[in-house]
Symmetry: C2
Subunit: 408 residues, 2 copies
Amino acid sequence: MALVVQKFGGTSVANPDRMRVVADHVARCQRRGDSVVLVISAMGKETDELLHMASQVSDTRPGREMDMLITAGERKACALLCMALAGAGVEAQSFTGSQAGFLTDSNHRNAKIMSITPGRIADAIAAGIVPVVAGSQGVSAERNVTFLGRGGSDTTAVALAQVLGADVCELYTDVSGVYSADPRIVPKAQKMTHITFDELLEMTATGCPKPAMRSVEVAHNHQVNLHIRSAFTWETGTLVTQEVPEMEQPIIRAVTHDLSESKVTVSDVPDRPGVSAGIFRALANANVNVDMIVQNVSEEGTTDISFTVPTEDLARAEEILASEAVTSLGVDRIGADNTIGRVSVIGAGMKSNPGVAATMFETLAENDINIGMISTSAIRVSCVIDADRCEEAVQLLHTVYGLDAADR
Amino acid sequence: MALVVQKFGGTSVANPDRMRVVADHVARCQRRGDSVVLVISAMGKETDELLHMASQVSDTRPGREMDMLITAGERKACALLCMALAGAGVEAQSFTGSQAGFLTDSNHRNAKIMSITPGRIADAIAAGIVPVVAGSQGVSAERNVTFLGRGGSDTTAVALAQVLGADVCELYTDVSGVYSADPRIVPKAQKMTHITFDELLEMTATGCPKPAMRSVEVAHNHQVNLHIRSAFTWETGTLVTQEVPEMEQPIIRAVTHDLSESKVTVSDVPDRPGVSAGIFRALANANVNVDMIVQNVSEEGTTDISFTVPTEDLARAEEILASEAVTSLGVDRIGADNTIGRVSVIGAGMKSNPGVAATMFETLAENDINIGMISTSAIRVSCVIDADRCEEAVQLLHTVYGLDAADR
């Protein structure tokens, strides 16, 4: 008999049929003797629809009101799922973020969890009632409703699993686990039975869409066992652990790619202290999420700085770079490229296996794929290349590193 | 400078354009020096859509979860209206029923307000912020979300006006006031500039769709000034007061009709104590709302009882009447007629003017309209007639009582 937190995302509860399927699954788990706590996202595309409606109403959209609006989606889904559970003979109660005890900071639209006092959730579990918790929401010290941001339901589930001392946090989604590459691009991609937190973090940071990176960080920091699995096939998915149990692991475990970023190049930047800092401080103040940064030192007292930003932030980044705060630093030549892709190879095994990066560069070079930027971590190498060569690069690298299913 | 509670219903805030129109109106009121508190219903048909979705998910729909679901509609509308207000330069904050201090009983789907502690609303007013309160909702002593029922936003507005000591409670709707009859049926129907609470109560009880009867009761009991007006033309509507100020009022002020009820007849009921009580207790326990009741005493120890119920409750009523609890009383002959209409004439003036009822019966008789049931109050006479003669009866009576516009 285990205590299991199960999180279901938007596609898993997109319509009444799906709600009943999930309810039946919970009923089966309960019959098996498990205590289940559910965390639910808004149905299907509802969050997008609410955002669209807000944009139609006004150009001025206070964060406090956006959070009041968006969190309605999760409330509805929780209430409906409780009805589906009642229909399946499972006693259940919905809880808003506030009712579940999620106290957050006041950073509306992207609030952080400060503490959780899950008294009502614990009481429900003790009474044999399945608590159904609205994902990605809480209440601030000022008693305002807050939203944890997109993908925040994963974080709600992991944090709740930690504070309740759950045996496992199951993140149900529309894929059956974490794959060695995107199966739509690499037909021979394999589902991984195990993955380390470090590897999963690098993957989510470089294009693997699920689960949300923030929730993996929380799970890693608090040693919450994660199980990423499908709400459609119900098969065993990918277990996320501190260490992968097998003795011999492939050096590289996955190849990811990301087409959602653009590259910005700032040329002829005066090469003196404080200039880079001024640029990136200005971007950070505007909440532009800067990722890979490469700086070349020239010999004439100026330098070029390139970095990537989410393409959706590109216009804002260009605006910031053209603002007085940045131009006063002596910056005036700005280039942008929104046709880039990033391909990354990831594996804890590369720590003790030199030559991983060289193999990657050689493979790309042999196929006339030009590398625009490079960044590395202890268990990852990423290259920025042309967007239209990205799929091909993923396929080549998946084969070169011995990940294709038939090779193993 | 006045403190005004303004309630906007579903059609008034049905889409982004309407939200902005309402926001502009509030901005004008504020520029005029008024302090405004808003109460908002769910947008358009959203409540119906949520009810429909719930019915698709499960046949078992706990009241607690229905309330969690339905109240999401008002939250969304409030948040969006705050954005529209921000766009119009008006500082505003949304408040759920719980945040606004509405403590209710635990009667889910139809909760009653127990007390209001509007500290946050008063603070917002004092700070020059327009509070935007979600209508028809509160929180129970068990800290569960509760819904006050359909039309509950009117009650929220009136109760809030009372506890805040507002100068007036304006109920904005899609009609421009209270009319002497439904203008769709009687083209010469006139908008009433004033109406008494008693008259309005009788009208809402007999088919006048707005405002919700319960809110009129609260306003009457607590002497809250009501103003029923249009959110589309913004013209002055109908003021509801304790006494109509004019010296001479027409005896009859309005003719209403209602096609939403059905007639149930229970025949050959044993004429002994406790039988009627048993029947109506069983119906009340099933929440069937019984209205007009007529009982004929026969000479053979049995009697016939007829009463009206909302047609939507008819199936339930028939089920109850066929149940053991009722058949054990010796009741077995039940008839139902869902083709009835009720026409009512209403006016405080009839108290001191005998013959009003006689005029009504004569008018119907002269036009071969058969009367099935009659009920009266001090300021109302109602007749049940064939549904398909109802419009004609309203037109005839509106003329007979001198209410047609051209006659005055």
